[in-house]
């Protein structure tokens, strides 16, 4: 693409480290915590000498895209087994917004407004369970063991990251650099030799501009890929190396969430955990974790198998919050911050090659998330710990980081771990959702209760292949002609199509109150808004603009968690506003068209980019 004729000759800088890690989340936290603890012998000598700075212990660098190591992540409930193993004396009161799980409930929510699309079984349940319902919610008499997080903990990953990162930096054994987007791995055949940082001083389309500074190459004997499910290095490796046979990443969800100051007198105690099903749509799960200080992290998961092509998670979350059971306790609260994140829901089935010459993969992007128990943070941490132990072992033995040595250490540890054992059970648990939401729930139950022996059959479909047209989805609800009219009206006024369609099928308007029910844009301004450093190229691009031009669903626009993707008034591919992007990566799978060059992917490319939400809470 770039026109090199008038590109200023700026040399690309190059540096060397022993280990470079991409992305600082729970997986990198587990890796670096384990590694740094073992780098020095008791007598104060390093266990191995750095290959790049002789006489020094190994040089360990971690690059994080976000402007701060605690930015833009998520609230979480977890059993915390791996975390506790790393920190046996863990005192949760030392980490802001952390607490033991004290109470756990699974709630079935009835539709109080009559706009939800409920299969017959749900309608039946609405009636049958009615007499035991409180505020239109039925509390499951017990939490199925596979969903239980008790004993466990709730916390904000942002705060955990800050705590872990602070401890790590304090050791002086690793450097964690925020605001440092990595563009891609440096590859030599199938081997990885380091990473290349994103170029700076470029135009939106990536061509060099004034102040052009090509991204530095950081060479390293080992590259640890921990950049999550939508990270550019992981994606690049998946494209370059392909996925192992039978593996694919076709299941996704976006978590749309916020942190709320609960109203005074709210009876939820710190450590309360709620999981909800049934509303606003049967496919949408809800969660709510109560932190100390009358604060809660709450939100919904909108999965890729949800059939609505104008899926706007934000509005669904607002309807969910207003469900009588929740609203009774939320009303009068104040939103502190909002955010969103993509979850790779293929789990073990989406696992890539875990290692190769010069690289290893950990965390969510390595397929560690357990899709049955809905747990990923502790699993990610555990994979980091396993790699940390393996790297120390190889260092001490003076062995190189090759596919063979990493297979024999890291991969072997993973295969023998509880993470793997439980992921195997979970692997087919969500297959039922391929055909219907009811079969999906039955499937999860079957898998969970039989420990994976019995599963609901189903073969996962690529997200872009399962998105119907708007007319198909609203068939029987809105006549085709009327859809056309609504579409034209919205285009003319420049207003949102999803709002118009949801209004039309009976979803009540959101009574904005300026504190908890706020506009989508305001939610992204509360408690730290989106910031994008100048000089980087756009990280959301469209592979083939002509495909976009012909696209009528435009799920990317309707689903965008930051309203950063919007209609181009001149037609053609949608426009992208970096200043609004929260880096959830949902556009990557919220697209109804395949990339012409790679049918496993959609037409939306999500690449390396700087900035994002400035919030350390959610």
């Amino acid at each position: 693409m770039s026109d090199t004729t008038d590109t200023p000759e700026v040399p690309r800088a190059e540096m060397e480290a022993d280990i470079v890690c991409v992305g600082f989340g729970p997986a990198a936290g587990g890796f670096l915590t384990t590694l740094t603890r073992g780098l020095m012998n008791e007598d104060g000598t390093p266990v191995a000498e750095s290959a790049v700075v002789p006489g020094m212990p190994p040089q360990v660098i971690c690059y994080e895209r976000a402007d701060d190591i605690g930015f833009g992540v998520s609230g979480v409930v977890t059993k915390g087994r791996a975390l506790r193993a790393s920190f046996p004396d863990l005192d949760l009161s030392q980490i802001p917004m952390a607490h033991e799980v004290t109470d756990e409930k699974v709630l079935y929510l009835r539709d109080p407004v009559g706009a939800s699309r409920r299969p017959a079984v749900f309608k039946l349940a609405d009636k049958a369970l009615g007499r035991w319902m409180e505020d239109d919610a039925f509390e499951l008499p017990y939490v199925p063991p596979f969903l239980q997080k008790h004993p466990g903990m709730v916390f904000s990953i942002g705060q955990l990251n800050q705590w872990v990162g602070g401890n790590l930096m304090g050791t002086g054994m690793a450097q964690i650099w925020p605001g440092s987007p990595v563009a891609e791995p440096l590859m030599d055949g199938r081997a990885v030799t380091g990473v290349r940082m994103a170029d700076q001083g470029v135009e939106k389309n990536g061509t060099p501009g004034p102040g052009y500074m090509p991204g530095m190459d950081m060479k390293a004997a080992l590259t640890v890929v921990a950049d999550g499910p939508v990270g550019p290095v992981g994606q690049h490796l998946d494209r370059a190396l392909g996925l192992p046979e039978g593996k694919h990443q076709r299941e996704w969800a976006v978590g749309m969430k916020c942190v709320v100051d609960l109203p005074e007198g709210c009876d939820w105690q710190a450590g309360t955990v709620l999981h909800t099903i049934g509303y606003p749509e049967p496919e949408i799960f809800g969660f709510l974790y109560v932190y100390p200080g009358n604060v809660a992290s709450l939100g919904i998961f909108v999965p890729s198998w949800f059939g609505n092509p104008v899926r706007t998670a934000y509005r669904y979350m607002q309807h969910w919050m207003q469900h009588p059971y929740l609203w009774k306790r939320l009303q009068g609260g104040t939103m502190r911050s909002g955010g969103a994140k993509s979850l790779q829901e293929s789990g073990r089935r989406g696992a890539p090659f875990l290692c190769g010459d010069g690289f290893a993969r950990i965390g969510e992007g390595s397929g560690s998330t357990n899709v049955l128990t809905g747990s990923g943070v502790d699993e990610a941490w555990a994979t980091g710990v396993m790699l940390g132990e393996s790297v120390l072992e190889l260092m001490k033995e003076g062995k190189p980081y090759t596919r063979e040595t990493l297979e024999a250490t890291y991969v072997a540890r993973r295969r023998a771990s509880w993470v793997e054992e439980e992921a195997k059970v979970a692997e087919k648990s969500r297959d039922g959702f391929v055909s219907s939401v009811v079969k999906g729930f039955i499937g999860m139950g079957l898998t969970g209760l039989t420990n994976g022996l019995i599963n609901m059959p189903g073969s996962p479909i690529k997200p872009q292949d399962r998105i119907p047209t708007i007319e198909e989805y609203y068939k029987g609800y809105i006549a085709e002609g009327e859809v056309l009219e609504i579409r034209a009206e919205c285009a003319r006024k420049g207003t949102s199509l999803h709002d118009a369609l949801m209004d039309r099928v009976g979803w009540p308007q959101i009574p904005l109150d300026g504190t908890l029910l706020v506009s989508h844009q305001d939610a992204l301004l509360m408690g730290g808004k989106v910031q994008a450093a100048p000089g980087y190229g756009d990280h959301v691009r469209f592979a083939d603009p002509y495909t976009c031009e012909a696209c009528r669903e435009r799920v990317c626009i309707e689903a965008c968690s930051g309203q950063a993707i919007y209609t181009n008034p001149e037609g053609g591919a949608p426009l992208f506003d970096r200043e609004k992007c929260v880096h959830c990566g949902a556009c990557m799978w919220n697209c109804s068209k395949s990339d012409l060059k790679d049918s496993e992917r959609t037409n939306v490319c999500f690449r390396a980019g700087s900035g994002g939400l400035h919030s350390v809470e959610n």
Binding site: E203, G209, P210, L512, Q521, D522, L525, P534, G535, E570
Partner: protein, 337 residues
Amino acid sequence: MSKVLYLAHTECDGTLHKSALETLTAAKALAEGLGGELAVGIIGADVAAAADSVAGCGAKIYGVSGPDFADARYASDLAAAEAVATACGAEIVVAPATSRFSRALPGLAVRLGGRVDTHLSGLAVADGQPVARRWFYRQRMEGTLTRSERPWVLTLDSGIAEPFAGAGSAEVEALTVDVSGVRTKVAGLECPSEDQQTIRPDARVLLVAGAGWTKKQADGAVHVDVAEETILNFLNATKSSLGSSKSLVDISGEGNAVISFLTHMHQVGQTGASPRHAKGLSTCCHGEEPHVVGWRFISERRAINTDAGCGWAQGKCDVLYVGDAFEIMKKVNEMLG
């Protein structure tokens, strides 16, 4: 008995600025409230006219004057202030937070072995003690404070009292201050000409231009020329002051179309200014919180935005007009003639 020294400097025409007269009212009230004595110190090229203009306050007036004190300069202003404060044995020094005194007077606290609190938004007496009020964290929260260290130097922002009125014939005790060792020479001022003048602190109305002025309009094109003309016509017709949002100032860095007469100096908000005007009209700006904190001292607020759900609608302005600022402002200009 507390000795309250009111310090002021003259403007280039030899008069005292409105904010200096407001500060005198506050200083006088403070001295009275404390049962103390007020003294006045004036610094400038020629202080006679200024002294006469406040002679009615009844305080003893000290003056430091001469060509060395014509211009705002840290070392000479501080030396003059120190001379006056020492001469009158000031325990509390009250002065307007002009750029000149904001530069010079913090140093006075060190010279006198005292303390300083700046940019006060209020000054009162409670339990026989001065109580100062000021903003913290860029106008986000306001606190009241007291302290027992003396001398205590206080600078006051404008708008906290009525300007003092009480001219007469003043007798000024002239103090001689040697500033021959000062190494700085003031070369002069760069003032925007009347035509280019867009920041007018004394204007009644503030017009804020947001990033929308430089974005693509309904026809898919950018119309910066029209935007500039519309904004300038309005400013010329109303003699309003011009402010901008941070995003409009920032986008100039990314090779976008820019409004040629806007600079960082115009920026209103958390990383910019918090100007004081009776009325403020926001155009093409989303009303985000970091910007709106800069509106703290704008009494009446109206906004024009195409988005009915923008930040302004959330209780941040009195009236939000949902419409195209290009069209509305064009019409406004026509009506203003």
